[in-house]
């Protein structure tokens, strides 16, 4: 009889803990990170043939640059000159396809835009378009990229990225960033300035540098994971929603992050507090 009582007591104790876990911590799915990270970035295979075009423009009259890449790589950096230098490379599976495409430069007011020309056939063949770009500091740059990589180094200005199925690396940003990523991997380091990040089905790591005025963190992650070492308090809400709010310094620079089905890590460099998981 004794063993029956002990068994029932143990089951009862575990039941209480189980119910408390479900009630107050949201159950097994609330805090466990997904073990398997799956990422598909098709289009990594190299094109068979390529051709390059280069463009140089003065940045005095132009304040905005738009790049529309696909399948290739976009490399962007700021310089101290006032010239906008764009090296574009088009790739394709054959010379016939390559001959039907070119990079088109369009200037509209103070905006300059680079994109691939429309093909002669109704159905768009597999074409790669890569950019290596240098822009004057302080310029507004918008990059659209599908299936490829975007690398931004030591950028000073206003950066807008709209990517899908892409790997995005930003190392060194002084200015403002607005980033939209679907099915991608984002690695943002040495960020100094306000940022708006919207991602879905992506893995995002953001590391901020400590700056005057500090940051105001406003983070919402739905059906995903949020972690990091930064001055914010995380609150678990219903429907698998994680909300984090907090400030560093005076909270002058807004950090707005909205993520769905993503894995978000936010760190503030030299922050002494504890890590949030």
């Amino acid at each position: 009889m004794k063993i029956r009582r002990i068994t029932l007591a143990v089951l009862l104790l575990l039941t209480v803990l189980f119910v408390a876990d479900i009630r107050y911590f949201g159950g097994p799915n609330s805090t466990k990170q997904p073990s398997v990270h799956f990422n598909v970035s098709p289009g990594i295979k190299a094109p068979a043939v390529e051709k390059s075009q280069s463009f140089v423009n003065s940045g005095e009259e132009l304040s905005s640059l738009v790049l529309k890449g696909q399948r290739g790589n976009v490399e962007l950096r700021s310089t101290d000159t006032d010239q906008i230098v764009v090296h574009a490379t088009i790739g394709a599976d054959s010379e016939e396809i390559l001959d039907t495409f070119e990079v088109v430069e369009t200037i509209w007011g103070s905006e300059i835009r680079y994109e691939i020309s429309e093909g002669q056939e109704d159905e768009m063949p597999e074409v790669w378009l890569s950019f290596v770009v240098e822009v004057p500091a302080g310029m507004e740059v918008s990059v659209e990229q599908n299936f490829g990589q975007v690398r931004v180094h030591n950028f000073r200005g206003f950066l807008s990225l709209n990517t899908s199925f892409s790997e995005v690396t930003v190392w060194g940003l002084e200015g403002t960033a607005s980033i939209q990523s679907n099915f991608g991997v984002l690695d943002l380091r040495q960020i100094a300035g306000p940022i708006t990040l919207n991602d879905s089905f992506s893995t995002s790591k953001v590391e901020f540098l400590t700056i005057d005025g500090g940051y105001d963190f406003d983070i919402e992650v739905v059906n995903g994971v949020l972690a990091g070492k930064a001055p914010f308090q995380m609150d678990t809400q219903q429907n698998n929603k994680l909300v984090a709010r907090g400030q560093s310094g005076d909270g002058v620079h807004p950090v707005v992050i909205r993520s769905s089905f993503g894995n978000v890590t936010v760190n503030l460099k030299d922050f002494e507090g504890t890590r949030v998981d």
Binding site: I3, R4, T7, L8, L11, L14, T15, F18, D21, P28, T31, K32, Q33, P34, S35, V36, H37, F38, N39, V40, S41, P42, G43, I44, K45, D277
Partner: protein, 254 residues
């Protein structure tokens, strides 16, 4: 070791009839569909459906068998003998686990051989999609080993649930079901709690292990092992606990 093998032999003899019956049913089902396809009554897609039927049924059958192998000891009163014999509890539990593994292997082999024999056009079509025979064999073996591990954890949970249910007087079915849920939750929580201790472990690159780049370039799949280690320790602890409870506290007349 000889005693363990005797236990295994006893369990295998008990599972001979049901496994033979299921293997026969599978082959007959494949044969009927093959004949229908040969007479153009059914399209080739029907072979996909008929292969899926035993594959879907297989996990359910094994779940039932993991429960049934212990239940039969009480039903046939052989549990008295088991407890009187000088064999540790883990011999009994692991012999039953090994029996389930062997049943799974045999039934899976029947499905694969049946598919290769009866649905050759489908296999040829499939071989055009995959990179090569060596790729299929390698990944097939890896998946098979992975499925053995997954199956083992399910069997271990069911064994604990059954043994605990025999330690209470009433509502044994409900207790077994509830124990199954609680043990799954407990092991999952253990994985979460121990995860920080294993963060130093590197992620396992599944795309390299399975050579996924040969199938589709740009596919990256990584398995973060840190949250899993605690769960695996938990599953082993459940096996030890079940063996201990079976050996010392189980009610033979429950």
């Amino acid at each position: 070791m000889r005693r363990f093998l005797q236990l295994l032999k006893k369990d295998l003899q008990a599972s001979l009839l049901p496994v033979g019956f299921l293997s026969g049913i599978t082959i007959i089902l494949f044969g009927i569909v093959r004949l229908k396809m040969a007479s153009s009554a059914w399209p080739m897609e029907a072979s996909l459906a008929v292969i899926a039927i035993p594959l879907v049924f297989l996990p359910l059958w094994l779940l039932w068998q993991s429960f049934q192998t212990l239940r039969s000891e009480w039903r046939e009163d052989t549990v008295y003998t088991l407890l009187v014999l000088p064999v540790p509890g883990w011999y009994v539990m692991t012999a039953k686990l090994l029996t389930i593994w062997i049943e799974y292997t045999v039934l899976l082999a029947v499905i694969i051989i049946g598919t290769l024999t009866f649905f050759t056009p489908l296999v040829r079509f499939g071989m055009q999609v995959v990179p090569g025979i060596s790729w299929v064999l390698r990944n097939g073996i890896l998946l098979y080993l992975g499925s053995l591990c997954a199956l083992a954890s399910v069997v271990i949970f069911v064994q604990l649930a059954f043994v605990v249910s025999k330690m209470v007087g009433r509502l044994q079915g409900l207790v077994a079901l509830w124990t199954l849920i609680l043990s799954g939750w407990l092991v999952d929580r253990l994985g979460v709690l121990l995860e920080p201790a294993f963060r130093w472990l590197p992620s396992l690159p599944l795309h390299k292990l399975f050579r996924l780049e040969e199938l589709e370039q740009g596919v990256v799949a990584e398995w973060n092992l840190a949250p899993e280690i605690g769960s695996w320790i938990g599953v082993l602890a459940v096996l030890v606990l079940t063996s201990y409870l079976f050996e010392h506290y189980v009610e033979v007349n429950g």
